[in-house]
């Protein structure tokens, strides 16, 4: 268990890890890497290799099928609506939970994690039953001409359910850490609460809101169980991409499924990259 001292001429020999007196680096890193490769990286690699086997033409043949494009549009648009609405309401909820004291606050705070802890199938059938034409809410809305279940709107509602905690839990700690002094200073200078919020609090919260939005969006895109019960699952209208992948697998069309799966990974990756850049931009503008 010796530290890796570099006995060199100028003591400047390249060290890929900082020497430490603590033992167990090699075994722990080995186990970590082996498990990571075995469970995550190798399978992903196999999937990418499978896709590569298609060749570019094969890949685009699958991707550009009308059903794939249509479902992609459905997934992306519903995820976008859900995430944007949740960004707004999520911010409100996080603000209320972090700033105000009221009876039942502790309970409400714990409840935020419900979508996180509740199995997706349970959420799926519950939402489906709730918004079906004869469900509690579905029956209320039907006379108004609003049909949620078995429509894209149902997908949005389901996505809102499962992605709410991602936004609230990302923004809440940042709100809790906001320094009251800045707001007090602004108040002393005559700013109204709204002005204080828009000019001081919100810019500070924005980076975390964007992060939460990105996490929510990514989760919405990949979600399966909560959505398939309430969605109509009509191809190109109310069918989400994960369901399409399952359909392809059921038909033993491995290549199709793999290509679409790779597409999904690519989209998520691009998403996260964009949001990261956005965050960096915001941080530069408004300071850390």
């Amino acid at each position: 268990m010796s530290a890796s001292a570099s006995v060199g001429i100028a003591g400047r020999r390249f060290q890929w890890r900082q020497p430490s007196i603590l033992p167990g680096f090699a075994p722990s890193l080995t186990i970590t890497l082996v498990w990571l490769v075995l469970i995550v990286l190798a399978p992903l690699g196999v999937m990418l290799w499978f896709t590569a086997g298609l060749g570019w033409r094969g890949f685009f043949n699958v991707i550009l099928e009308p059903r794939v494009l249509g479902d992609l549009r459905v997934s992306l648009s519903t995820a976008l609506y859900a995430s944007v609405v949740n960004a707004g309401f999520g911010l409100l909820v996080a603000w209320v939970l972090a700033r105000y004291r009221f009876p039942g606050r502790r309970l409400a705070d714990a409840l935020i994690d419900l979508p996180f802890a509740l199995p997706t199938a349970v959420a799926g059938i519950a939402l489906s039953t709730l918004y079906a034409p004869n469900g509690w809410l579905g029956a209320l809305l039907a006379p108004l001409g609003i049909h949620i279940a078995f429509n894209p709107s149902g997908i949005v509602v389901a996505m809102m359910f499962i992605s709410l905690p991602f936004i609230v839990r990302t923004v809440q700690p940042v709100i809790e850490d906001l320094e009251p002094e800045q707001e007090e200073a602004a108040s002393l200078m005559g700013a109204t609460p709204l002005q204080i919020f828009l000019r001081i609090s919100f810019p500070a919260i924005l980076p975390s809101l964007l992060t939460g939005f990105a996490l929510a969006f990514a989760r919405c895109l990949g979600e399966y169980g909560s959505i398939i019960f309430i969605a109509g699952n009509k191809p190109m209208v109310s069918e989400i991409v994960p369901l399409l992948i399952v359909a392809r697998l059921d038909e033993f069309d491995y290549q199709g499924a793999t290509a679409i799966g790779t597409l999904m990974l690519g989209v998520s990756f691009l998403l996260l990259l964009t949001i990261n850049l956005l965050q960096a931009w915001v941080r530069r503008r408004h300071g850390g």
Binding site: R17, L22, V46, M47, V93, L114, P115, P119, V122, I245
Partner: protein
């Protein structure tokens, strides 16, 4: 006052979107009366679904626990090139659709998969059987324990471990007497979340399971099976069991967060940075 309006809107939103679905589960489950409820959940097929769910959890959670502990040791206690990349890679399954997790297992072990013919020749069944479901669940819950204890271990620093070195402790002694006790609540928290997800996982398992109600269905899949066959009340009865698991998870989670709020706050600050 503006404040009350805001609170009202927030609570109304939460009530509508979070509470109502939960209520629906229980009202539907008991809609035909308590007797029917118990008939549904004591059905032998449901029983085997519950058993399967428990078995999967019993394998998945310890596996990811050990992994999480190893990862937290090398990441939090040492500084090396590629450490940040490693953390990002560990988080990957968290942002990947569960359906893809199932897809991966099929690609590897399905009939037309990488090892498909080899497995068929040796009469080993992975897809549409327990091993495949376990693997898919391990993938999905992979980061759960690690991402709770890595920032915690980082926050706690190396001082106590170094002190133990100067006092003459060996590597294992340091780990079991000093490091592990410090991480207790984080480990419990991570195990709690990992377990909840493992027991409730649907998408990934749905792809690799044989979907035969009574033998290769977990409780979540049983919910789907029953619902699709229009046995609504039975479906919700099973769902209510899972919902109760979720509620217990939430209660324990809140309790832990209350007990350790100071440390949690420091760790959350570190996570957000």
């Amino acid at each position: 006052m503006v404040k009350n309006i805001l609170i009202g809107i927030a609570l109304a939103f939460m009530g509508l979107f979070l509470v109502m679905p939960l209520l629906v589960v229980f009202t539907e489950a008991f809609s035909a009366g308590i007797a029917d409820y118990f008939t549904a959940i004591t059905d032998p097929n449901v029983g085997s679904a519950i058993t399967l769910t428990l078995i999967i959890a019993l394998v998945v959670v310890p596996a990811n626990l050990i992994f999480g502990i190893c990862a937290s040791w090398c990441i939090a206690r040492f500084n090396f090139i590629g450490r940040d990349l490693l953390i990002t890679l560990i988080d990957l399954p968290f942002s990947i659709s569960p359906v893809i997790a199932g897809l991966l297992e099929v690609l590897l072990f399905g009939l037309n998969g990488l090892f498909g013919t080899w497995l068929a020749n040796h009469n080993i069944q992975i897809i549409f059987a327990l091993p495949g479901m376990i693997l898919a669940t391990i993938f999905v819950t992979f980061p759960f324990v690690a991402r709770e204890i890595i920032p915690l271990a980082q926050e706690q620093g190396n001082d106590e471990e170094e002190a133990a070195v100067t006092l003459g402790a060996s590597g294992l002694q340091i780990f079991f007497r000093v490091s592990l006790p410090k991480l207790r609540w984080g480990l419990f928290y991570g195990v709690l979340l990992c377990n909840a997800r493992a027991m409730g996982e649907f998408g990934a398992v749905s792809v690799v399971s044989g979907k035969i109600f009574g033998s290769t269905d977990t409780l979540s899949l049983a919910v789907e099976s029953l619902y699709e066959s229009y046995e609504i009340q039975a479906a919700f009865a099973c769902a209510s069991l899972l919902a109760m698991l979720a509620l217990v998870t939430l209660i324990l989670k809140s309790a832990l967060e209350w007990w350790h709020r100071d440390e949690i706050h420091a760790v959350r600050r570190k996570k957000a940075a």
